[in-house]
């Protein structure tokens, strides 16, 4: 493996030792901080000409910006693999990578439990409109003047949009609270993977869910999948949970739907233009807001870093990735179904 290098963009915090151990099979280079311009010019100057695999840390976007076509095209010819730390990879142009012969991996599964945990926390908090209570206790006002009766999750209909790994983990938890689970995916899951959840159309999901949880990935076709027409179809008093990606929801339409009373409460970890938050949410005491910390635990952060390194090692040792992104592993046929690529 003489001459082959791995480039770490950003930080590794919990698996430094395991990263150092990769030094046995690769030269290790690091780009812990800097700017997009500096990064691109280093690429063009040949600084990374021996790099075959990139470890793209979760926070590297603020260093290099999006891995869009412009940046991907500037990457060295030697680069064959991008191992991304994150379940969501909407900030990477996968098609541009595929065209350059670059394979990309993400970190599914490792994120499932922590993200599902936060979704349930947000649901329980939203059902209790808990924020004003948090604030009044801290201000020494006990229950304050906005103390309201909440709602029990028991016997309510919990609708999941996107029944992937995270959606299934959310379903398992919601079921334990006595909720009836229904979901919509572009295609129904095999019955042994549904866990008793009922498959419904997108329309029915919107029209009949008491709590709606977004657990689908963001891509050009799912941006604003929830907007005014969708809010209009929802039940009066619905509770909306989003731990996936902010741009799935038209945030301004969400604020309007709350004003009209259509949406009773909201629990979100992600925002359309994060870290900027629509004032209509930020100033609303009836909603629960978290700053995109779905996987912010010691255990899950370490698991994610280790998974990226496993992808990195598999890439170098076997020429393939452990958790390659779906869009590269499969292609769509005429019926919009995934078929494995060879």
């Amino acid at each position: 493996m003489v001459g082959k290098a791995a480039l770490l963009i950003g930080e590794i915090t919990h698996a430094r030792r395991e990263w150092q151990e990769c030094g046995a099979i690769l030269k290790l280079k690091e780009y812990p901080d800097g700017s997009r311009e500096e990064f691109v010019s280093k690429c063009r100057n040949g600084d990374f000409d021996d790099v075959t695999v990139i470890y793209r840390s979760n926070d590297s976007n603020k260093i290099t910006g999006n891995f869009n076509k412009e940046l991907v095209d500037a990457l060295p010819d030697s680069l064959k693999f991008i191992c991304h730390n994150g379940a969501g990879y909407d900030n990477i142009d996968i098609e541009a990578c595929t065209r350059r012969g670059i394979s990309v991996s993400s970190t599914p599964v490792a994120v499932n439990d922590a993200t599902a945990d936060i979704a349930i926390f947000l649901m329980l908090g939203a059902l209790r409109r808990i924020t004003s209570s948090f604030q009044s206790v801290r201000q020494g006002n006990w229950r304050g003047s906005n103390f309201q009766l909440g709602h029990d999750p028991k016997n309510k209909v919990f609708g999941i949009l996107g029944m992937g790994g995270i959606g299934s983990a959310v379903a398992t938890r919601a079921r334990a609270f006595g909720m009836k689970i229904q979901y919509h995916n572009r295609h129904q899951l095999p019955s042994n993977e549904e866990g008793g959840a009922e498959y419904v159309s997108f329309k029915e999901l919107l029209e009949t869910s008491d709590v709606l949880s977004l657990n689908l990935s963001l891509n050009p076709s799912t941006k604003h999948i929830i907007s005014k027409p969708q809010f209009d179809m929802m039940k009066e008093g619905v509770v909306v949970i989003n731990t996936a990606r902010g741009p799935l929801i038209d945030e301004a339409a969400l604020v309007e739907a709350m004003k009209s009373g259509k949406v009773w409460s909201v629990g979100v970890d992600v925002y359309e233009e994060e870290p900027k938050i629509h004032l209509g949410l930020l100033e609303n005491e009836n909603v629960v807001l978290l700053p995109h910390i779905g996987t912010a635990t010691f255990e899950t952060q370490r698991d994610m870093e280790l998974l990226v390194l496993e992808n990195l090692k598999d890439a170098v040792q076997y020429g393939r990735l452990k958790t390659q992104v779906l869009e590269q592993k499969y292609r769509k046929n005429e019926d919009d179904r995934w078929l494995r690529n060879h």
Binding site: D117, F121, L124, L127, F134, L149, D152, L290, I293, A296
Partner: protein, 332 residues
């Protein structure tokens, strides 16, 4: 024959129809006084004679004060039943009632889900350390500078449940959905069926081997300050404490000290020793999760609780006995 009287202490918020339908069986009255002294006078003066049963709420303590020995002793002779709208009935001196032949009921079961829901919410909030992030976000600082410390996943952690009654068992099922392993301590070991696979351990073992400890036991003379300095010292370093039962079970000052020295990593509380007063050491700690005693505060559960309590009043009027009685009076 005149109808018996039923005394309402506190407010009915939801089950108005149900309450009013009792008027065919009894005269429904309320005390004229809004203070303890006034209430005691009303009792002594005979104004409440003929009252057979009292429906009391948790909040009515603001009018009558605690149903302690002093008060129970002056209740009218006719009063044979106290129906308390709540699972915890520590406001009522049951021994004093037993001494006067007064039977007491509470509201079990209807409270289980809502209380366990808030309990699980606090476990997640404390383990994940969400409070600092929520405060930073609302302050316009996104995650804050420096960003908040990472939290912990519940998966694989040991949850020690102190008190495996209805609420404790309800919590167990929810916690297991998050991958937690449940051990418990109860005055008596549960049957295998009821325990559902949870391991029964001694009180000491629960303290020393739990990653998260949840309090789900009643407050009484033996459980007041059950947890104090010595007990915190026996716990794992970094333990998370969650209390939705009664504040006085925990020595709040000792808890604050244990938080400050890092022995307790975080806590989630719905109840406090002297609520509505909250220890300033808790309020000042951004790493803990605090809510104001609202475990059962939902439309559905409050309605179900009122229905149950009214049901006990109705049972007394129709059958002369309660549908359920507090455990201390099981032999009455």
């Amino acid at each position: 024959m005149t109808k018996p009287k039923v005394l309402l202490l506190g407010v009915i918020d939801h089950a108005h129809e149900s309450w009013n339908s009792l008027s065919s069986l009894a005269e429904l009255i309320e005390p004229a006084s809004r203070s303890r002294a006034g209430f005691l006078d009303e009792c002594r003066s005979g104004k409440l004679d003929g009252v057979v049963a009292a429906y009391r709420t948790f909040a009515s303590v603001n009018i009558t004060g605690l149903f302690d020995e002093e008060l129970v002793k002056v209740l009218p002779e006719s009063l044979r039943f106290i129906c308390h709208n709540g699972a915890g009935y520590d406001q009522v001196d049951v021994q004093a009632c037993t001494d006067r032949g007064i039977r007491v009921s509470n509201v079990p079961t209807a409270v289980d889900d809502a209380t366990a829901d808030v309990n699980m919410f606090l476990i997640l909030g404390a383990l994940r350390g969400f409070n600092t992030s929520m405060i930073a976000l609302r302050d316009g600082k996104w995650r804050g500078h420096p960003p908040p410390p990472l939290g912990h996943d519940p998966e694989g952690k040991t949850l020690g449940i102190l008190g495996m009654g209805g609420i404790g068992r309800n919590l167990k099922k929810k916690a297991e959905a998050f991958g937690m392993k449940v051990i418990y301590y109860n005055r008596n070991k549960l049957s295998d069926e009821l325990a559902g696979g949870a391991e029964y351990v001694s009180f000491e073992k629960l303290l020393s081997s739990s990653d998260v400890i949840s309090f789900n036991l009643p407050l009484n003379k033996t459980t007041r300050h059950l947890i104090s300095t010595r007990e915190f010292e026996k716990m794992k370093k970094g333990v998370v404490i969650v209390n939705t039962a009664r504040g006085a079970i925990i020595d709040e000052d000792a808890l604050v000290k244990a938080l400050d020295n890092g022995h307790v990593w975080s806590c989630g509380l719905d109840v406090y020793e002297e609520e509505p007063k909250v220890h300033p050491g808790l309020v000042a700690n951004p790493h803990v999760m605090l809510v104001p005693h609202m475990g059962t505060w939902t439309v559905e559960t409050q309605t179900a609780m009122e229905d149950w309590n009214i049901g006990n009043i109705r049972a007394v009027l129709e059958k002369g006995k309660l549908n359920n009685i507090v455990p201390e009076q099981a032999d009455m």
